[in-house]
Symmetry: C2
Subunit: 139 residues, 2 copies
């Protein structure tokens, strides 16, 4: 497992450090998106706050994770899929936040719809954020 994680890091030409391995592994182990605070907590305060911030920054730059605009304005980070490359994110999928359990899912297989804008407006990127109940909480 750790080997696979480290291979990903090397592929992105990042040096392998305990912090980066742990954080990337965390992402691969979780369903949903993570906040800085959650990462700090789940890594058991082994790593400095600053290290986590910088690690997340680097991961975003290298196309390993992407940020999700959230309604309560805490930055969410989630794994990118294969087609995200360094510098350019293909982040055209839909994000779903459960009102009950507060988990954020990336619904990768659902792509954002085309939305016609008024004259003169040009779309670069479309983010869709749906709030509601997830399959687990909707039973």
């Amino acid at each position: 497992m750790t080997d696979a994680i480290n291979t990903i890091l090397k592929k992105s030409s990042l040096s392998v450090t305990p912090g980066r391995s742990a954080i990337l592994q965390l992402f691969h182990q979780s369903d949903g998106a993570l906040t800085h605070a959650v990462i700090e907590e789940k890594t058991g305060d082994q790593f400095d706050r600053v290290t986590i911030y910088r690690t997340l920054q680097v991961f975003v730059e290298k196309g390993l994770i992407h940020t999700i605009p959230s309604p309560d304005n805490s930055i969410l980070y989630a794994l990118c899929k294969e087609d995200c490359s360094e510098g350019h994110h293909h982040d055209n999928h839909i994000h779903f936040i459960c009102d009950k359990c507060n988990t954020t899912y990336c619904l990768d297989h659902i792509t954002t719809p085309y939305i016609a804008l008024p004259n003169g407006f040009k779309t670069n990127q479309t983010d869709v954020l749906i709030k509601g109940l997830c399959a687990q909480c909707n039973l």
Copy 2:
């Protein structure tokens, strides 16, 4: 002008104070969404930071303004339209952020599309955030 603003405040059963009038007027004068920092600046530091925070909170509660999830995670506030009522926002329109001038527009006349979710998922609210170039910057 100020009279019209104060009438709105009274309709929402809010007491009329210089701060509330000024801030609500600011919203009615601007095209796009505003951040706390911008409001603080545009009111010329007449009002305490805390007062502005509390005013925005009250306006959101009363359905006068709504928050917009933004990609850079600064909280944006924008005027609600007629059909927003106390406690329940009908915030199903599209938000557009210009990459160049950074203005955020509420495209009220364009409603969010229906998006089919996986089995078990239930939609409560859909937010759409489009980034690109606005009519002014796309000339």
